[in-house]
């Protein structure tokens, strides 16, 4: 996917991020995090640029970018849906909530819908175990979830998928 070229403004942003982290190899993870926060993923060009500016082998930058779950090399959807799979949520049935989201959005966890509307990911414990199972959509915490609530939750978030992609299999 190296074909995607990043915009000039994004390029400036990356340059700014590198500068504000002091051009240091120690700050590699912080730099990648800041870029990820800005662009919601790490384009290949960004990785190459960071490697050049920090004077690091590209393999180290790529290695770090693929080792940590915080990073994505694929562009993310407009809406971010995250399911807590921490132990407390698991014993309260988070697995079935995730499966239902996968069915409704018609993607597996870790992926983005073709129309780039939704990205579905899992996370471990967001510290709200008392309200588990937890789902977070675009920063909004939705507690005491179950599979049956998924439909309305997606609807509330304007999911086209809730209407079109449900009869499958």
């Amino acid at each position: 996917m190296g074909a995607v070229r990043i915009a000039k403004s994004d390029h400036d942003q990356i340059e700014y991020v590198i500068g504000s982290n002091g051009h240091s190899a120690d700050a590699l993870i912080s730099i990648l995090q800041d870029i990820q926060a800005e662009l919601h993923y790490l384009p290949e060009e960004a990785l190459r640029h960071v490697a050049k500016r920090l004077n690091l082998p590209l393999i180290q930058v790529y290695g770090v970018a693929t080792f940590f779950k915080a990073f994505s090399l694929k562009p993310k959807g407009r809406h971010q849906c995250t399911v807590c799979m921490g132990t407390a949520c698991h014993v309260r049935g988070a697995g079935r909530v995730l499966e239902e989201l996968e069915r409704k959005l018609n993607i597996k966890a870790g992926n983005t819908t073709d129309d780039m509307e939704y990205s579905l990911d899992t996370v471990n414990c967001v510290g709200a175990c008392a309200l588990g199972p937890m789902v977070i959509i675009d920063g909004e915490y939705l507690g005491i979830m179950n599979a049956a609530k998924v439909k309305n939750v997606l609807k509330a978030h304007g999911a086209k998928a809730a209407r079109s992609g449900q009869r499958k299999g």
Binding site: F67, T87, G127, A147
Partner: protein
């Protein structure tokens, strides 16, 4: 004068705390109502969030639970303006929840405003640092911490004083030494470290400054998970405020000791909680552990002597200095001193963060503090130690909780996750859950962990799927011992614990899955069936409407039936049924 204090830690925010805070701010007139609006961290009673405390004349206090923006109006009108307490919204469990706790580390959490250093100072904050800098030599500090018996709260339980001493004594050519705070908190069921950083960041910072002075370090790091944005923010604010007051930076409090702290956000990997992997990651490298023939206290971050302690360990330090080693070691058991914070979660009524003296029994935690199991279900087991720990069965419920006793029964203290399980929790499923987590988190550097865990997961998946074979249990045990004994780091070394402990205590459940193709708890999808109870079903049709497979048929107002050949066991029918008519067997 009145104060309204809203809990705005992660749990409070998840329960709508910000909306509650905004509503108060909209309705209250600071002068006319003579009321100050404040925020605080987690008070531990996450099951009653959003929490609001009203303090009148600095003493009379009322704690309201499950406050919503709609309820705020009544609190303002009746209580704040009318002087009448709203009895039915008061958190009634508070007394029971707190009675057996000993909140010393969490003392200020849920009381002070973490974003205002003034609050921490007013509660005696940074007094320990003053004492250390003005009247104690570094060696005396180390001796005091050693005498207190404090052991690391990050999982291993290594004596803190001893670690500090070896770091101080390790040779460093240019004198550089580092101290690091481990806030990676990888256990997927634990959140005490986050709560401390969110609710009382200065206690951790103060502990680190004292430690740095004792060890002879001028640079510290906090390695914190990127998934903890609020902890990162509150910690950052606290560091700024400490700098502005001369508590960090050059010549702290006029002494000739200088020290500062940087925040480093982790990339979200469980293995980065391991000391050598954490340091590799801090250097901008992949978080892979290295063999520990040479300890990190001698050669750690950038090859320099480095002292790593957990968040909770650091937060204990100012207490020990202030109140003395003798006081600290009067709490707890023979070899485990002080308190431990647990996140009490899962199938338990009072879900939250609890701080208890070492040596308290599981029964006291679960039944007295935790208020028992919800929905009249039966208690089955409690899991401690996270993915490195094990499940402790009901018959050991009177076990006193400390480092050594938990290890003796095949579990461990870990970072303090305590997941309560009832009869509807399947032990094979739990073992599978942790092994799956660990296969994803194994760094892949060494064979036993990388390949062995994959193989264990295959076997567990087969057992849970009704394809288990005779001999599988023995094979799991054999694999478990091999992985435990031959892995490079402690992730692999402890990874088989969840499997070995469940086999040890719940072998019959494994056997039911293998021999009878039955999941006694009704969890493993491939071994259960969903049916509709004819007596209870009134034919509302909600289940049929929601079934993704269109497997449910029936006339309106008549009992419905599920077609077992097309049912995918997603459970939507059960979640939707308002009459509990869907039965799992």
């Amino acid at each position: 004068m009145k104060e309204v204090v809203v809990g705005l830690a992660s749990c409070g925010i998840a329960a709508g705390g910000i909306q509650v805070y905004n509503k108060f701010s909209e309705l209250l007139d600071a002068e006319k109502d003579e009321t100050a609006l404040k925020q605080t961290g987690c008070y531990g009673m996450c099951f009653r969030e959003a929490l609001v405390e009203i303090i009148e004349d600095s003493k009379r206090r009322t704690l309201y639970g499950q406050v919503t923006p709609e309820r705020v109006e009544r609190i303002v009108n009746e209580h704040l303006r009318g002087g009448k307490v709203i009895e039915e919204w008061i958190v009634k469990e508070e007394g029971q929840f707190l009675a057996k706790q000993k909140r010393i580390v969490l003392h200020n959490c849920g009381k002070i405003d973490p974003l205002d250093i003034g609050d921490y100072l007013a509660s005696g904050g940074y007094q320990a640092l003053k004492k250390v800098l003005s009247e104690m030599a570094p060696e005396q500090v180390i001796a005091e911490v050693a005498r207190s018996g404090l052991r690391g709260r990050g999982g291993g339980g290594f004596p803190t004083g001893r670690k500090w001493e070896s770091c101080r004594n390790a040779p460093s050519r240019n004198g550089t030494r580092y101290v690091i705070c481990n806030a990676d908190e990888g256990d997927p069921g634990a959140y005490m470290d986050r709560s401390l950083l969110e609710g009382n960041p200065h206690s951790v910072i103060e502990g680190m400054i004292i430690g740095a002075y004792a060890i002879g370090s001028s640079q510290g790091y906090v390695y914190v998970r990127h998934e903890y944005p609020l902890a990162v923010k509150n910690l950052g604010v606290a560091l700024e405020q400490a700098r502005a007051r001369g508590l960090l930076g050059k010549n702290i409090l006029g002494s000739n000791f200088s020290f500062d702290v940087k925040i480093s956000r982790g990339g979200g990997a469980f293995i980065c909680g391991e000391s050598t992997a954490l340091m590799a990651s801090l250097e901008g490298k992949i978080g892979e552990p290295r063999p520990k023939h040479i300890h990190t206290t001698e050669k750690g971050f950038h090859g320099k002597p480095t002292n790593l302690n957990n968040v909770e360990t650091w937060a204990n330090v100012p207490l020990i200095i202030n109140r003395g080693a003798a006081w600290f070691s009067s709490i707890g058991t023979e070899r485990s001193k002080g308190t431990k914070i647990f996140s009490l979660v899962g199938k338990i009524n009072n879900t939250g963060l609890v701080e208890v003296p070492m040596g308290i029994t599981l029964r006291e935690i679960i039944y007295e503090i935790g208020g028992g199991i919800p929905s009249g279900k039966k208690f089955k087991a409690v899991q401690t130690g996270g993915p490195s720990g094990g499940c402790i069965p009901e018959r050991l419920i009177d076990l006193p909780v400390d480092f050594d006793r938990l290890t003796e029964v095949g579990s461990m203290m870990g970072s303090g996750g305590m997941i309560v399980m009832d009869e509807a929790t399947c032990m094979v499923d739990i073992a599978k859950y942790f092994v799956k987590f660990l296969t994803e988190e194994s760094c892949g550097k060494c064979v036993p962990c990388r390949e062995g865990l994959d193989r264990m997961l295959d076997i567990l998946t087969d057992i849970a799927g009704g394809r288990g074979r005779e001999g599988d249990i023995e094979l799991l045990e054999e694999l478990g011992y091999a992985i435990r004994d031959t892995s490079l780091c402690a992730l692999g070394g402890s990874a088989p614990n969840p499997v070995l402990s469940t086999i040890n205590y719940f072998r019959d459940e494994y056997e039911a899955h293998i021999n009878e193709r039955r999941c006694p708890a009704g969890v493993c999808k491939e071994l259960i069936t969903f049916t509709i109870d004819k007596e209870k079903c009134n034919g509302c049709g909600l289940c049929a409407k929601n079934c993704p497979q269109q497997s449910i048929t029936g006339k309106k107002k008549e009992a419905h039936v599920i077609d077992q050949t097309t049912c995918i066991k997603c459970g939507l029918c059960r979640d939707n049924c308002k009459f509990d008519a869907v039965v799992v067997s």
